[in-house]
């Protein structure tokens, strides 16, 4: 056994050894996301910057694809992280899982290189198979789609077979069921049609039913495990809450899909159904905040891993504000007709993805580095604790700053371009050129620099936190024994 405070894979179980590989790639892709987001943001202010070399479309595609993939890597890693603990048995088919990791990573590298070097293709089916599919968030070419499906099937096999061999906890049951839905939904985005209405109809099955249904439930599972681990909350309480969350999340989120069917050619009944059910979507997010904060308070914030707990609390609030509040603001058709596809949407997209998903993955990576270093002390009086605190502060300041700036731009755009200008090209550019809009773009960049600095600090902290720490971790409170 390696000394306390040094990274050693001997400290990890099989699933966790694989998990840290996924986490490593996730953080690298997070860095790429920030880089290309910055480039795209700069182009809003200086349109000639990299014009014809790395156009806005390329930077933006890399920005959001890196986002989706790093979160997926983070989720897969997190599931491998909890798998042996939760099921009480070593991962079944771990070798296959490892192979899958390398194949997946290699595929991502090839896709990124093609995005950067080839960028676009002729208007033929072969471009969609080989270069990019040109559909937001799921641009990956068809060959990569198929690869992703195979990888996810292997992942699913690992998870389901392991739970079946060991014990099926409540968390495990929800998780397996959720992964079936999550993987199945991806197939809805994998076919070509000339009909743009049909295209977007199925595209939203992937995007919406991922982020507002299956991903939320996955996070619910991870958070449930995290609360048990960091604070020793009783399993029965956590799992009851998990079922409540599933009922509310799926009960509102599945039909809430209709809030994307207002204006794409889909029938009028979606105005009522989508408006109503999506308006209910914030309710489970409130429940999740109450749950996390109540448990944290009940355990007097005593936790074996302060940064992880802090990021989990951030998740609860970020999810509530980013998805719940910012989502609700534009989800009724009466408002959405003006805000649809404006900077308002971008404001919500940023806060929601960061608040709901980036946070939880970061929390899990903190859990991972702690154990990787031999389960070292990560509570009060840590050496160099300023780093995780400042990273967290700069990331949040940057994200909140960007969100606010984009919201102001969104108000201006909805007003000038949409309500007054009637959405013509001229009206669009009139709004883009307005002083409120332009200032907002500047503030978005200033906030972006804060976010980028926070990312650098975060990466540094993850590599060094707990190094040379000689105290063992504080044990979670006694309740854990009853679990």
């Amino acid at each position: 056994m390696a000394a306390l405070g040094t990274l050693s894979s001997a400290n990890l179980n099989g699933g966790q050894k694989l998990a840290v590989k996924f986490f490593t790639v996730a953080i690298a892709l997070f860095g790429a996301q920030v880089l290309f987001g910055m480039l795209a943001g700069i182009q809003y202010l200086k349109p000639d910057f990299l014009f014809g070399i790395l156009d806005f479309s390329v930077n933006r595609m890399l920005h959001i694809n890196a986002l989706v993939v790093w979160l997926l890597f983070g989720f897969i890693g997190a599931v491998y992280w909890i798998l042996e603990d939760e099921s009480g048995t070593p991962v079944v088919g771990l070798g296959l899982g490892n192979l899958m990791f390398w194949v997946f990573t290699l595929a991502v590298v090839v896709v990124v290189l093609v995005y950067l070097l080839v960028q676009t293709g002729p208007g033929e089916l072969k471009s969609i198979w080989l270069i990019n599919e040109g559909r937001e968030y799921i641009e990956a070419p068809r060959w990569a789609d198929i690869g992703i499906v195979v990888c996810v099937l292997i992942f699913f096999y690992n998870v389901a077979a392991t739970f079946m061999k060991g014990r099926f906890t409540g968390i495990g049951g929800v998780l397996v069921f959720d992964l079936v839905a999550l993987a199945g939904l991806y197939l809805a985005g994998m076919w070509y049609t000339p009909n743009i209405s049909m295209d977007q109809h199925w595209w939203w099955w992937v995007i919406h039913l991922w982020v507002e249904a299956t991903w939320e439930v996955l996070v619910g599972c991870l958070l449930a495990y995290g609360l048990i681990k960091t604070m020793g909350v009783r399993r029965k309480i956590v799992e009851t809450w998990l079922y409540i969350e599933v009922a509310l999340l799926f009960g509102s989120g599945i039909l809430g899909l209709g809030h994307h069917y207002f204006w794409i050619g889909t029938p009028e009944y979606w105005l009522a159904i989508g408006g109503f059910f999506s308006a209910l979507e914030p309710i489970p997010l409130v429940a999740m905040v109450v749950h996390a904060v109540f448990d944290a308070g009940h355990h007097k914030m005593k936790s074996a891993n302060h940064p992880a707990l802090a990021w989990m609390i951030a998740q609860a609030f970020g999810n509530f504000f980013g998805a719940g509040v910012w989502g609700f603001m534009h989800t009724l058709p009466q408002i959405n007709i003006y805000t649809h596809g404006t900077q308002w949407t971008a404001s919500h997209g940023h806060l929601a993805f960061f608040g709901a998903y980036a946070t939880i993955v970061i929390a899990f990576i903190y859990l991972a580095v702690q154990k990787w270093r031999g389960n070292v002390w990560m509570s009060g009086n840590m050496a160099g604790a300023w780093r995780w605190k400042w990273a967290m502060f700069l990331l949040h300041a940057g994200m909140i700053g960007m969100t606010m700036a984009l919201l102001i731009a969104g108000y201006e755009q909805s007003h000038i371009e949409r309500a007054i200008g009637g959405s013509t090209w001229m009206a669009y550019f009139e709004a883009q050129a307005g002083p409120w809009f332009q200032q907002a773009m500047t503030w978005r960049m200033i906030s972006g620099w804060s976010f980028a600095a926070g990312f650098v600090l975060l990466a540094w902290d993850l590599m060094t936190i707990g190094k040379r720490e000689t105290r063992p971790a504080q044990l979670p409170a006694a309740e854990a024994a009853a679990a």
Binding site: P47, G121, G123, V246, A247, W263, T266, G341, A346
Partner: protein, 221 residues
Amino acid sequence: MSQTQTQTLWWASESFWKKMAVWITAGSAVVLIFLTFDTVKQITAGGKRVPAYSVINNRIDYVFDEKRNHQVPVIGPEEPLFGKKLTEEEAMALVSKGKLTTQAKNCMNCHTLLGNGSYYAPDLTKSWLDPTWGTKQLREQQMVDFLMNPQDYLYNSLGRRMPNLGITEEEARATVAFLKWMSSIDTNGFPRNFKPIDQTDPAPDAAPAAPADAAAAPVQQ
């Protein structure tokens, strides 16, 4: 939670919520699937909401409808795209080529289509009807020229231009067909309050249409 009470109330019990989770999820999924069958039927090209591809043989307008209280697409007299009337199959092939071009060139990572995509460039839902193209007579050629060499046109004071994406003439024409077809989709009045290009025919004795008015015309660099 402190365990002073010895027994969990039924509505707070794990088994109750487990059943709720299962039933609510199953119920919502069934309703969604049921609605999806109807929606897919209604948005298949050739229906009332999403017209057949051969609609590109006709004039398409966007006119206020008193009953629905918003604008709706109106299919007008015959006005074939590029002056050539197409069969349904030919029209579908052309629109499909255009759609593939929009995907291969990644249009959605700058523009929105039906309001979805990116926000760096104007929405394309009604681009076919946009007054920027000058007049009805100039429009088709303007659009093709622009798509093939967009870097030469500056439509705004910001210096934001569309990059050259290597769009061929064939692809440009197909893309225009796709855009024309898209403008015929019934989007429940999105975008609201849009001001379409004038498509009325000039009186037979009137002078030939004047070139684009100065404000709307692209500035050639």
